[in-house]
Amino acid sequence: MRLSELEAVVESLLFISGEAVPLSAIAQTIEMDKATAKAIIHTLADKYENEKRGIRIIEINGAYQMCTAAECFEYIRNMYKSPNRQGLTQVVLETLAIIAYKQPLTRAQIEEIRGVSAEHAVSKLVEKNLVCEVGRMDSPGKPIMFGTTNEFLRYFGFKNVSELPPLQETAESQVKDD
């Protein structure tokens, strides 16, 4: 096998392994002695460095691992940032709306209104600090009552909850005694 082919094999081994590969394992796989294997790895590593590539090879305790170039880190982090991620879902939005208008209320009361489990939505809202515990209901089990946070008010830009848009038309009366 030609040297360039050996280099390609080493490159593929380091790429696929995802962890540090001991020099001995590489040497054995390409059927060369350790010194030769080491020379091949270093040639490849130097090439990456000289050509300012996006990947590098580092040595850890007699083993070798492929990794990203430090210069690229910011970009990698940017790629995984929020734009690709999901925003507020309809379920969470509705849950937030119910809490905003009906607070304070328990999870069971939310579920009674929405007809489905609110566990995930409420915990998401608590995690985002839009909703928090505001007390316990004086009933068996002392369930937690939820309300909106200052963070919520600050975001939506009104001074306190009483400034929520009023519910006019739609059968507001029916909503109350229910």
Binding site: I16, Y80, K81, S82, G87, R114, K128, F158, L167
Partner: protein
């Protein structure tokens, strides 16, 4: 006649067996000698060594179809010239052609499958997964596009929904909907759900927007599947979550 021994499970179904007979006899697929093919097909079923009812039923359905086509050829043709155009074999021919197309292309797929096996991909390592999960998402990003107005609209929507749900009087005025749901379909639905999620919860087999009739039918379908020992249900404690899974052969009771 020479006795032949056949194993039906060597074939992937009635179409596969028919296709085999057509190839073996070098029959023109567009002009199938239906009587001969039917006889041969039935001989195969007769000679089959592995005749368990489960595997047989599909082969028997095809036998019935073949016999039906054969009988249509035996019937005297109506004088009416218009009826002449319809060949009783037409549907079967189309199905065989469709099946042949798929069967033929899979040979090419085999090659692709083999070639692609030489290419390997790696999974993202732990650090990247963390980067992905821990990427800070600001409240602005999370609530992007959500205005106060939306909150208001969402609340109205929820309340409107709740109202139509509890208003028995008004809903009783509605026209009676057609029987849209059958136990048979719901059984299929539950089977498919269990394909996607081998362990699923009792509640998840009911569609979110399911009406009362659909719920009742779904429940009946579940009971039927339990009776047929296709699925089993498990509840670890009183009022605990009920899980549904495919029957694994053991009685949970």
């Amino acid at each position: 006649m020479v006795k032949i021994t056949v194993r039906l499970n060597a074939f992937e179904g009635p179409l596969d067996l028919l296709y085999h007979l057509i190839e073996k006899n070098e029959i023109d697929i567009y002009d199938i000698p239906i009587a001969r093919l039917t006889d041969q097909y039935l001989e195969y079923l007769d000679a089959a060594e592995d005749r368990d009812m489960d595997g047989m039923s599909e082969f028997l359905v095809m036998a019935a179809t073949l016999l039906e086509i054969k009988s249509k050829f035996l019937l005297p043709k109506p004088k009416n010239e218009e009826a002449e155009g319809v060949d009783p074999r037409e549907e079967l021919i189309q199905r065989l052609l469709e099946y042949k197309k798929i069967k033929d292309v899979t040979a090419e797929w085999r090659q692709c499958e083999e070639d692609a096996a030489f290419t390997l991909y790696k999974e993202a390592d732990q650090a990247v997964k963390q980067l992905k999960e821990n990427a800070p998402q600001s409240l602005e990003d999370y609530l992007q596009g959500v205005a106060l107005e939306d909150l208001y609209l969402a609340f109205r929507q929820v309340m409107a929904r709740k109202e139509t749900k509890v208003d028995h009087v008004r809903s009783s005025f509605k026209t009676v909907p057609r029987d849209l749901f059958t136990v048979q379909e719901k059984m299929e639905y539950i089977r498919d759900m269990l394909i996607l999620q081998p362990k699923t919860t009792f509640f998840s087999i009911f569609r979110k927007k399911a009406g009362r009739m659909e719920m009742v039918v779904t429940f009946l379908a579940l009971l039927e599947l339990i009776k047929r020992k296709e699925v089993q249900i498990l509840q670890r404690m009183t009022f605990g979550e009920i899980t549904i899974s495919r029957f694994d052969g053991r009685d949970s009771a």
